[in-house]
Amino acid sequence: MKNKLSKLVLFSVLIFCVSCNDPETTVTNILHTDGSITRIIEMKSMEGDSLKRFRIADIQVPIDNTWKIKDSVATDKKGDKTWFRRAEKLFKNVDEINNAYKADSGINKKSVRIAGFKRKFKWFNTEYYFSERVEKIFTYGYPVHDFLNSEELNYFYSPESLKGQKEAGPDSLKYKALSDSVKNKTDLWTYRNLVSEWIGEFTKLTEGTAGNDMPPAYLKSREKDITDIFKANQKNIDSLWANGTLLRKFIGEENASKYKVQADTAVDIVTKKFTLDFREYSLKIVMPGKLIGTNGFIDSSKVLLWPVKSDYFFTEPYEMWAESKTPNTWAWIVSGFFLVFVLTGVTMRIIKKG
């Protein structure tokens, strides 16, 4: 009975969270050789209310009425309905995508996203580079690779399906341990980032006024201590901050009373950054020609895939890129003829000389 109740509560929490993330969105960029991009947004929603379903304000990527939209619905055996929306638009170039990002009124409008495209002529081949980059949120944070090793990093950036497969596979124990390790380390990373960001903002606010009272390097040198104090006082942190105990521990008795306003303002700034609205989605890229490089994952249909989560661009820009090449047939033919021509000339000369 107890277990059933636990399950029930667990599922209710999960359902709450799933509905938070509704709609489930995948963006596919199909790159063409001329630099134009066909962008397809596929959305899936369990939301029953047609007015609440697929609202532009809830969608993770920019979309408007210039897109070709197709809706469909599927009903499972139990009679539960899932709604799908497929939107498609051809962008002449990445600038058009970037303009759409700038004018975005969706849920992720506050994050800075930039698409990039490069085409390089390399005689035998033409190479194409396409990227989507999300700018970082924190100014003074630490990159996650300072906290995780390569295996953990790989796990951290993996799509959920892959994590699920690994955790349910034959090495489930290993991956569960890895998952726990990543969780613990990323928790520590979060604490350090919060503290570092607060120190950065606070130092900026007190710059010029603090003088010799509190040199900028002083707080930075105490960052680890402050993180420890922060962690050790998690339970009653509110009251400790409100009565100034924490700040006194951080910057000393005299400075605490002198710079209380700046300290609170720094907290507000960090809060705004930390609670930035961002709803995750998946990004796919289809490149022209043969793929030669990417930092993404490859899905079963040989399409490149990236999960886009706020964790990834907290402290460093998150760039999803792919590179491909198409052969220049005419260059191959010209090169072949040229080589034969030179070789024949040289051979003839040798024969005549002989």
Binding site: V9, E24, S158, L162, Q165, F297, I298
Partner: protein, 181 residues
């Protein structure tokens, strides 16, 4: 009797001595030269084309430049192909995921916020959460409690193979329904 050879030599000697007299030997000479000049040499199109096309082989600097260009072309080709093959090889080691099951972890985003909340309590109050502090604490407590219970449950399942098998079967059934959607 004179031998035959001697007779022959005498005849030849006589013939040599009695040369015909020419009226204007210079004119004849000029005529011959004119004819020879007027006669076009026999031409071979292929060999002239070959000579034209490959005349560069006799010009030192052109020959050297073209040979250098050919070598550069071959080097560029080998280098480019080498780089591409290496990159494709790296790519083939890249993880392939099953996108059908690419369902987002609903818990991760909230977990991040919870971590932040746990670390800061009310200090970093979210602008978007309108529930009371008490409710939030209750939620955190229940999540914590749930995590403990979940671990207990996992332990119970691990210790009972029949139960584990049954649950795995049930979960596979759920997956099957999802796929049919």
């Amino acid at each position: 009797m004179k031998p035959e050879n001697e007779k022959f030599n005498e005849v030849v000697g006589l013939l040599r001595k009695s040369r015909p007299l020419l009226d204007s030997p210079e004119d004849i000479g000029n005529k011959v030269i004119r004819r020879l000049r007027a006669e076009k040499p026999k031409t071979d199109v292929l060999s002239s084309l070959t000579d034209f096309l490959f005349s560069w082989v006799y010009i030192g600097w052109v020959r050297r430049t073209l040979i250098a260009a050919s070598c550069a072309l071959v080097i560029v080709f080998i280098y480019q192909q080498g780089v591409i093959l290496k990159r494709i090889d790296t790519l083939s080691k890249q993880t392939i995921v099953n996108d059908k099951a690419n369902i987002k972890s609903p818990s991760e985003e909230i977990e991040r916020l919870l971590t932040g909340y746990r670390s800061s309590g009310h200090l970093f109050s979210s602008r978007n959460i309108t529930i009371s502090e008490g409710q939030m604490k209750d939620l955190l407590e229940s999540v914590k409690d749930l995590q403990i219970k979940y671990k207990d449950l996992e332990k119970i399942i691990d210790e009972d193979p029949d139960l584990k098998k049954m649950i795995e079967k049930k979960l596979m059934g759920i997956d099957h329904i999802k796929t049919n959607l």
